[in-house]
C-alpha cells in the first residue's frame, strides 16, 4: 500500500505517495527524475548507485524509500551549489579522473562521505576508503589523485 514518504532531496523538500518497501534507487530514478545514481549490480557490490543519506554514503540499490523518510538525501545532482562545482567535482574534471563516467557519481559521493571523516587523508586511506567502488575503465589512479587534491582544497576552504 502506498504511503506518503517525506524527506529532503538535494535541498528541496519532497513528499510522494509510494509503496514504502520500494527500492530507493528506483524511486529516485523513476518517480523523482534523479538519474545520477546508476544501476550497476543491484547487490551493493559496485557503488554506482551511491547517494548521501544524512551525509553518509549509502548504496541506494539496497535501501528502501521508507528508510530515508525524514532524512536528508543528496545525489550527484545536488552536490554543486548555485552552479559552483564542489571541489571533488572540480578535481575529478581537472585530473581526468573518469572515462565512461558511469561510476563517477558514486565515486564522488563515496569520496565526499569519506572526506567528512578523513579530512586529511593519506593515499592509503583513500584507497581503503574507495576500495568497494568499482570502475571498469581503470581511472583508479586519477581518482585517488583527484581526492587528494580535493581534500587539500577543502581544508583550505574550511580554515580560511
Amino acid at each position: 500500500m502506498p504511503d506518503v514518504i517525506s524527506f529532503r532531496l538535494n535541498d528541496q523538500p519532497v513528499s510522494l505517495q509510494v509503496a514504502p518497501d520500494r527500492t530507493l534507487l528506483w524511486v529516485l530514478r523513476t518517480e523523482l527524475g534523479i538519474t545520477g545514481p546508476k544501476f550497476g549490480c543491484g547487490v551493493s557490490e559496485c557503488g554506482a548507485c551511491t547517494v548521501l543519506v544524512d551525509q553518509r554514503a549509502v548504496r541506494s540499490c539496497n535501501e528502501t524509500i521508507q528508510s530515508v523518510a525524514g532524512r536528508e538525501v543528496v545525489t550527484i545532482e545536488g552536490l554543486a551549489k548555485g552552479g559552483v562545482l564542489h571541489p571533488l567535482q572540480e578535481a575529478f574534471m581537472q585530473h581526468d579522473a573518469l572515462q565512461c563516467g558511469f561510476c563517477t557519481p558514486g565515486m564522488i559521493l563515496t569520496a565526499y562521505a569519506f572526506l567528512r571523516t578523513h579530512p586529511n587523508p593519506t593515499r592509503d586511506e583513500i584507497i581503503a576508503g574507495m576500495d568497494q567502488n568499482l570502475c571498469r575503465c581503470g581511472a583508479h589512479v586519477r581518482i585517488v589523485e583527484a581526492i587528494l587534491s580535493a581534500a587539500a582544497v577543502m581544508r583550505k576552504g574550511t580554515t580560511s
Binding site: 506518503v4 517525506s6 523538500p13 519532497v14 513528499s15 510522494l16 505517495q17 520500494r22 527500492t23 528506483w26 530514478r29 523513476t30 518517480e31 523523482l32 527524475g33 538519474t35 545520477g36 546508476k38 544501476f39 550497476g40 549490480c41 543491484g42 547487490v43 557490490e45 559496485c46 554506482a48 545525489t75 550527484i76 545532482e77 552536490l79 554543486a80 562545482l85 567535482q89 575529478f92 574534471m93 581537472q94 581526468d96 573518469l98 565512461c100 563516467g101 558511469f102 561510476c103 563517477t104 557519481p105 583513500i126 584507497i127 581503503a128 574507495m130 576500495d131 567502488n133 568499482l134 570502475c135 571498469r136 575503465c137 581503470g138 581511472a139 583508479h140 589512479v141 581518482i143 585517488v144
Partner: protein, 727 residues
C-alpha cells in the same frame, strides 16, 4: 498534513531530446549555413579491418554513404557528425580537436554529434582502436576540404586570389592585409556544397597544429561529474514500460512449459509471450523485475557437459581446420639447428566485459518506423539487426547512441536493442530494456578461453632457431612474432567469435581481441628461452629484434625503469613483455611480490612505454594506457568465468572480481615522440602485455612459471609447489 506538493507521477522525468530532428528537419534547420558533405572515393575509404562482429554493409542510399560531414552555422558554430560513439575512450574530445585544427576554428565552437544513424555518416563500429588511426585521416580530410571550400568562397567574396588567403580562428584572412577578412559564418549563408574526395586534400603538417598534440581535458567531464550526462537508461518516454525478460537457467536449457497465472493479476503488468521472448513489463521497473520472479517456467536441462576445468581438453579436441597465418623460412631446418628445445602450452580463461553500464536500450515503434536509443558500439549494425527483427526496411529504423557506460568490445553485440524493439512492437508502447547484472553476465560475449602451443628452440649461438606457434580459439590478431626468427610458422584454429558450437556460450571481441592471449604465450615463452640461454630477458629480446620501433620502446623502458641486467630467476620479482597492436608498439616492465603462504600476487610498479606515432591528445592517450594497465590486472590475476553445464557460476561482482583500488601498483607511462609518423591506436595496446609481464615477474620472484591465466592464488600456490628446490 502534507506541506509539500507531491511530485508529478507517472510521467516522471522530463524528457531529453526524445523527438530528435529527422534528417530532413535537420537539413532544413541548417539551410542558413554551410554544409559540407564529403563522399570518399575508393582510395580513401576506411579499410575493412573488422573485429568480427556482424558485418554490415553501408546502405546504398546516397545520403547515408557520406563518410564525413559537417555543417557551419551562420554564427560560425560548427557541428560535426560521426558514426563513432563515446564510451569513455575519448573521441568526444579528440575528434573535435582534430577537426578544429584542420578547419582553423576555436575548439569551443565545435559540437559533435555521435552515433545517430539518421544524422551521422555510416560507420562500421567503434572498436579495434580504429577511430584515430583509420577514421582520423578521413575526418581530417573532410575538415581540410571544408576549409578549402571556405577559402574559395572567400576569394570570390573578397575578390582576391586563393593563394593570398589563409585561415585563422574561424575566418579567412588576406595574408597581405590582415584587416581584410571574412568569418566562416558570414560566408556560409544558404550555401550547400557537396564534395567528393578522391585524393587526400592538403592536410596540415604536424608543425602547423595548434591543438593536435596538446593534452586536453575531456569535454564531457563536467556533465559526467554533475550527473547531467544521459545514458540510455536515463531516458524516459511518455507511457514507457520497463521490461524484465525471462532467461533460462543455463545456456542450452529449453523451456518446456510456463505458468503465468500469478503475474496476470498484477495491476498494470503487460505480459509478452513469444516462442523465443517472454517478458513482463511495467511502468515501474522494480515491479517488472519482481513479477519476473513470479513466473513459473520449467526447463529441460542443458545438454552441455562442459565446465571451466574440462573446457581446455574440449577445446584441444575440437579441431576445425587449422589455417596458416604466417610461414617463413624452413621449419624442419630450423628445428634441426636447435640444440635445446622448449615446448609449452599456454591457456587463458573466459573473461567478461563487465562494463559498469549493462546493455540498455529504449525503443519506440510507431507504424512502420522504429527509433531505438541504445548503449552500443555499433549503431549501424544495431539498425540492421533491428530492421531484420521487425521486418522493416533499414531506413525506417533510427538508432541513437547516448553516452555509453563502457564497452570493451561487448557492446558490439546488440541483443538488448533488438529485444527492446520487439517488445515495443509487441506492446505498442515505448519499452526500455536494461539488463540486470546477472543478465549481463549470462548474455555476455566473453573473451574466449584459448589454448596456445609453442614449440621453439635455441641454436648453439643462443638465437631462436625456430618458432612453431599454434593458437586455438583466441584468434590470430597479435600472434605476430615481432622477433626476427628466420624459420617460423604461426597457425590458428578458429577465431575469437567461434566457430559456432565450440563454446558453451557466446564469445566475442574483448579489448584487443586475441592479443592478450597471444602476447601472454609469446612473451612468456620468450622469457623462458632467455632463461634457457642464460641471458637477461631484455638483452635476449634485443638480440632477437630487428624492428627499430620495437627496439626503441624496449630500450626506453629499460632506461626509464633503471634496469640492471641479470639472468635467470633473480628474486627481484621483475618482468618484461613487449607487444604490437593497432599500429602501436608497447614495452612494459613490472615488479611484483608474491606471498608464498597465500599465493597472492601484489603488483608494486608497472612502467609502460608506448610508441604510437603522432599523439592527438596526449592526456587521452595516457589515460588509455593507465586504464589498460589497471584493467589488465584483472584478466592477469583474477578474472575468470566459472560455469558448469551451461550455467554461469559467476553472475555478479561478489564472485567475479574486478580490479580494485587496493590492487593498484605505482603506474608510470611514457609515450615516445614520433610526430613524423601518423597517429596509431591507443585504446588497446597497453593491455595486451599485462598477462605476460606479470607472469614473467612472478617467475622472477619465485621461480614458479604460470602457464594459465588468471594467476589466482590457488594456481600460484600450485605452481610454487611444483618448483624444484634448488640443490
Amino acid at each position: 498534513m502534507n506541506p509539500h506538493p507531491p511530485l508529478p507521477s507517472p510521467t516522471r522525468t522530463p524528457a531529453a531530446d526524445l523527438r530528435p530532428p529527422t534528417r530532413r528537419e535537420f537539413l532544413q534547420r541548417c539551410a542558413a549555413g554551410l554544409m559540407v558533405w564529403v563522399t570518399l572515393g575508393p582510395t580513401l575509404r576506411a579499410d575493412r579491418e573488422s573485429e568480427g562482429a556482424t558485418e554490415t554493409k553501408a546502405p546504398a542510399k546516397a545520403d547515408s554513404s557520406f563518410n564525413a560531414f559537417l555543417s557551419i552555422g551562420a554564427d560560425g558554430h560548427v557541428t560535426c557528425f560521426t558514426g563513432k560513439i563515446e564510451m569513455g575512450q575519448g573521441p568526444v574530445t579528440s575528434l573535435p580537436q582534430m577537426l578544429a585544427d584542420e578547419l582553423d576554428v576555436p575548439l569551443d565552437s565545435v559540437e559533435i554529434v555521435m552515433g545517430d544513424t539518421e544524422l551521422c555518416p555510416y560507420d562500421q563500429g567503434t572498436w579495434g582502436s580504429l577511430t584515430t588511426r583509420v577514421f582520423g585521416p578521413i575526418w581530417r580530410a573532410a575538415a581540410a576540404e571544408a576549409r578549402a571550400v571556405l577559402i574559395e568562397l572567400a576569394a570570390e567574396h573578397l575578390q582576391l586570389p586563393v593563394a593570398r588567403l589563409r585561415t585563422e580562428d574561424g575566418a579567412v584572412v588576406d595574408s597581405q592585409d590582415p584587416s581584410r577578412k571574412i568569418t566562416y559564418g558570414q560566408l556560409t549563408k544558404g550555401q550547400k556544397i557537396e564534395r567528393r574526395l578522391t585524393v587526400t586534400p592538403n592536410l596540415k603538417k604536424p608543425s602547423q597544429f595548434k591543438l593536435v598534440g596538446k593534452p586536453l581535458l575531456r569535454r564531457d567531464a563536467r556533465d559526467k561529474v554533475t550527473g547531467a550526462t544521459k545514458y540510455t537508461g536515463d531516458l524516459r518516454l511518455p507511457g514507457m514500460l520497463y521490461a524484465a525478460i525471462l532467461r533460462p537457467p543455463a545456456h542450452g536449457a529449453t523451456l518446456l512449459r510456463i505458468d503465468t497465472t500469478a503475474v496476470r493479476e498484477i495491476a498494470g503488468l503487460v505480459l509478452v509471450q513469444q516462442p523465443d521472448l517472454i517478458a513482463v513489463l511495467h511502468e515501474i521497473p522494480d515491479l517488472a523485475q519482481a513479477a519476473l520472479g513470479q513466473l513459473r517456467p520449467e526447463y529441460s536441462p542443458s545438454a552441455s557437459v562442459l565446465d571451466d576445468r574440462n573446457i581446455y581438453d574440449h577445446l584441444e579436441r575440437t579441431t576445425p581446420p587449422t589455417r596458416v597465418v604466417v610461414q617463413h623460412g624452413d621449419l624442419p631446418q630450423g628445428r634441426a639447428q636447435a640444440t635445446r628445445l622448449l615446448e609449452a602450452t599456454y591457456r587463458n580463461a573466459y573473461v567478461a566485459h563487465a562494463p559498469m553500464e549493462t546493455h540498455t536500450a529504449l525503443a519506440r515503434v510507431e507504424g512502420d518506423k522504429a527509433t531505438v536509443w541504445a548503449s552500443t558500439q555499433n549503431p549501424f549494425g544495431a539498425r540492421e539487426e533491428i530492421a531484420k527483427a521487425l521486418g522493416l526496411p533499414t531506413d525506417n529504423v533510427r538508432v541513437i547512441t547516448p553516452s555509453v557506460g563502457g564497452g570493451f568490445g561487448g557492446k558490439a553485440v546488440n541483443t538488448q536493442a533488438v529485444e527492446a524493439a520487439r517488445l515495443a512492437k509487441a506492446t505498442g508502447r515505448p519499452v526500455q530494456v536494461a539488463w540486470t547484472r546477472e543478465e549481463e553476465f549470462f548474455n555476455d560475449s566473453f573473451r574466449p578461453a584459448a589454448v596456445v602451443k609453442v614449440q621453439s628452440g635455441l641454436d648453439a649461438a643462443d638465437r631462436i632457431a625456430f618458432w612453431d606457434y599454434d593458437v586455438k580459439f583466441a584468434g590470430d590478431r597479435g600472434s605476430d612474432l615481432i622477433y626476427a626468427v628466420p624459420n617460423h610458422r604461426i597457425t590458428a584454429v578458429g577465431d575469437f567469435w567461434g566457430p559456432p558450437g565450440v563454446h558453451p556460450f557466446l564469445v566475442g571481441a574483448w579489448r584487443a581481441p586475441g592479443c592478450n592471449t597471444n602476447a601472454f604465450a609469446r612473451e612468456s615463452h620468450l622469457d623462458r628461452l632467455a632463461e634457457l640461454a642464460g641471458a637477461d630477458p631484455i638483452e635476449f629480446r634485443l638480440r632477437q629484434l630487428t624492428d627499430a620501433r620495437a627496439i626503441r620502446v624496449l630500450k626506453a623502458a629499460a632506461e626509464q625503469w633503471g634496469w640492471t641486467p641479470a639472468a635467470g630467476v633473480t628474486g627481484r620479482g621483475l618482468g618484461v613483455a613487449c607487444g604490437f597492436d593497432a599500429g602501436t608498439y608497447v614495452a612494459t616492465i613490472a615488479e611484483v611480490a608474491v606471498d608464498p603462504k597465500t599465493g597472492r600476487v601484489v603488483v608494486k610498479r608497472v612502467l609502460c612505454v608506448q610508441e604510437m606515432g603522432m599523439v592527438v591528445n596526449p592526456a587521452g592517450a595516457t589515460i588509455q594506457m593507465e586504464g589498460c594497465i589497471t584493467m589488465g590486472l584483472g584478466y592477469a590475476l583474477a578474472e575468470e568465468i566459472h560455469f558448469k553445464a551451461g550455467a554461469l557460476l559467476d553472475t555478479n561482482f561478489d564472485t567475479y572480481r574486478l580490479p580494485l583500488f587496493s590492487w593498484l601498483p605505482k603506474i608510470e607511462t611514457v609515450i615516445l615522440n614520433a610526430d613524423d609518423t601518423p597517429p596509431q591506436g591507443g585504446g588497446e595496446p597497453a593491455i595486451i602485455v599485462m598477462g605476460a609481464v606479470l607472469a614473467n615477474a612472478v617467475h622472477d620472484a619465485t621461480g614458479a612459471r604460470l602457464l594459465e591465466l588468471p594467476m589466482t592464488p590457488d594456481r600460484v600456490k600450485a605452481a610454487l609447489a611444483a618448483v624444484e628446490p634448488k640443490p
